[in-house]
């Protein structure tokens, strides 16, 4: 004790020595209080686990029911006749010339009003012998129309046995859609033109700009299409121009039923913690958005499988609600940005149940998709660097810039469950 105030160092050293061995036994109630607090916390964690598990199960059920419920638009189509119901052979005088599954379209009412006699009066051959073989002449591509609008146009020709061609005078099919206005694929109308009245030679020589205009023309309603000339006018061209340019007297539309399949997404994510509970997460993802279109001609089937490929970057902010050595429960919110990189279209034609032909076309894909996303996640740390995570989340793809329609913009909110490996950078 006498050394305590000899000098500064010895004073502190003496104090440290004096209190280093100071021990006291606490009263029993201290541990009881600690135990009660730990039990309360344990109950909270269990509640979180159950809540997380319930959310995951709910997300899974929603995802499965949304993605695997058959053709996605079947409920909407069910208000109309399915293309499968069309029996061209049985009703040559009452063939349905146009069809659309777009509820906002008045096509159905119009079609119902077409009398078989009017078809004959217009010198239109029935489609009872519609061609069964298809040849894709042009890949779908985005072209600039004269109105400054971007259209995506594909021309497909039908071939058939010589006798069928003689009977039908079916020359070609144009498949078109507008890439900017987000007209979904299930509203695409396949138009059939009479060969005799189309200058296909000249058509083939036209540049893509003209193809774009053709697409605009085709989007008109059908009330005038049963007449011998175009009775409607597209933007930028007069009726006379239309008629002179294409000479079309008839358009016949066949529904293409589309099924949007579950997206397949893989990627890597890095996580950087910038505060005790907050972290920023980003990375790189690849998304495959498959769409299957089925069209039927004369009882035979053609299947288009569109595989759209995207590269994406998530920008997320995570908040750790529970943070343990191995386990963390967190919320995640931010944006998902995707850029289209390629599209692959596989056309398989069936004659009966036999595959008759299969064609594959590829093209670069442009455009962006941007979505806002929130979710909850659970993470298990494998080691200091890597961890596994599962994240039920919902995403709203708010912006689609020059991207053709796909599953991401078919619905406002998409629930998903992300599974993955995370690189921890903190």
């Amino acid at each position: 004790m006498g050394d305590l105030n000899q000098n500064n160092d010895s004073f502190e050293a003496g104090m440290q020595g004096m209190f280093s061995g100071l021990e006291q036994t606490a009263d029993a109630h201290v541990w009881n209080n600690i135990e009660a607090a730990l039990q309360q916390k344990s109950n909270r964690i269990i509640a979180w686990w159950w809540g997380g598990a319930a959310a995951a199960v709910l997300g899974a059920v929603l995802s499965v029911s949304l993605f695997n419920g058959g053709p996605y638009y079947e409920p909407r189509i069910s208000n109309y006749k399915s293309i499968n119901d069309l029996d061209y052979n049985a009703c040559p005088d009452s063939s349905v010339l146009e069809w659309s599954n777009n509820p906002s379209d008045n096509t159905r009412e119009h079609v119902d009003q077409i009398e078989p006699s009017s078809i004959h009066e217009s010198n239109i051959d029935p489609i009872s012998q519609i061609a069964v073989n298809t040849i894709t002449d042009h890949l779908p591509r985005v072209v600039d129309s004269k109105e400054g609008q971007k259209d995506k146009v594909m021309k497909t020709s039908f071939t058939d046995s010589p006798e069928s061609i003689d009977k039908m005078s079916i020359a070609g099919i144009e498949l078109a859609w507008n890439a900017d206005s987000l007209i979904p694929r299930d509203e695409q109308i396949i138009k059939v033109y009479d060969e005799d009245e189309i200058d296909w030679q000249g058509w083939d020589e036209k540049d893509y700009s003209d193809w774009g205009i053709a697409a605009n023309l085709g989007s008109s309603n059908s009330s005038e299409q049963s007449t011998s000339t175009f009775g409607y006018q597209s933007e930028g061209l007069t009726t006379q121009d239309n008629s002179m340019a294409f000479g079309m007297s008839d358009q016949r539309s066949i529904l293409q039923e589309l099924t949007y399949l579950s997206p397949f997404v893989v990627g890597v994510r890095g996580n950087w913690r910038f505060a005790k509970r907050w972290s920023i997460e980003s990375g790189l993802s690849y998304s495959l958005l498959p769409t299957v279109g089925e069209s039927f001609t004369n009882g035979d089937k053609r299947i288009n499988r569109y595989n759209d490929h995207f590269i994406g970057v998530p920008i997320l902010v995570n908040f750790n609600v529970i943070d343990r050595k191995r386990f963390a429960l967190y919320t995640s919110q931010g944006a998902l940005i995707e850029k289209g990189i390629a599209s692959r279209n596989t056309i398989t034609t069936y004659q009966g149940s036999e595959v008759e032909s299969k064609q594959i076309s590829k093209e670069p894909t442009q455009g962006w998709q941007i979505g806002a996303s929130v979710g909850v996640g659970a993470q298990y740390k494998i080691n200091e660097t890597w961890s596994l995570f599962v994240e039920p989340r919902v995403t709203s793809w708010l912006l689609n810039i020059n991207v053709q329609d796909n599953i991401r913009n078919r619905q406002a909110i998409w629930p998903t469950i992300d599974l993955g490996v995370r690189l921890n950078l903190d």
């Binding site: 105030n5 440290q16 061995g21 006291q24 606490a26 201290v30 209080n33 600690i34 730990l38 343990r324």
Partner: protein, 183 residues
Amino acid sequence: MDKQQLIEGCCKQDIRSQKALYDWLHPQMLGVCMRYASDRDQAQDMLQEGFIKVYNKIDTYKGVGAFEGWVRRVVVNSALEFLRSQKNNSNVSFEDESIMVVDHRANAQDELQAQDILKTIQSLPTGYRMVFNLFAIEGYSHEEIAKELGISVNTSYSQYHRAKALLQKIIESEKKTVVKTAV
């Protein structure tokens, strides 16, 4: 159950491991809390809060350094937090003030015991007590104390030396008493 098993058990929220850890370390940690508290009841409250934090944070222990030292740091930080949380309700002040220290030496004939100095420390104003403990016993620098407590380095320095001078005076007085008695 060895130390490593004890730590792993606590990481898994095993109550038996948590109790074993408490039984093992709580006497030392209560000794620490006694220096920061004004009395035993307050020290036990600090101890309770400190151990709950230890259990909550134990998975952040990286195995670097002694585990007991890590627990001690958590308990000390918890004690400081405890005192700060009472700032609005009591007198945690770092302003210069006259120090009224009660001489707790129960028996002048006995050698000054740690308990006596402890009681003297406990009678210091809260701010002085925190600074004294952190500098003299925990080994913090004045810069670290200033940062930890949100005060200036000068305040930390002056408060420490006032507390130290007072304690030295008591110790010197006791020393003389002991010598006189011996004579």
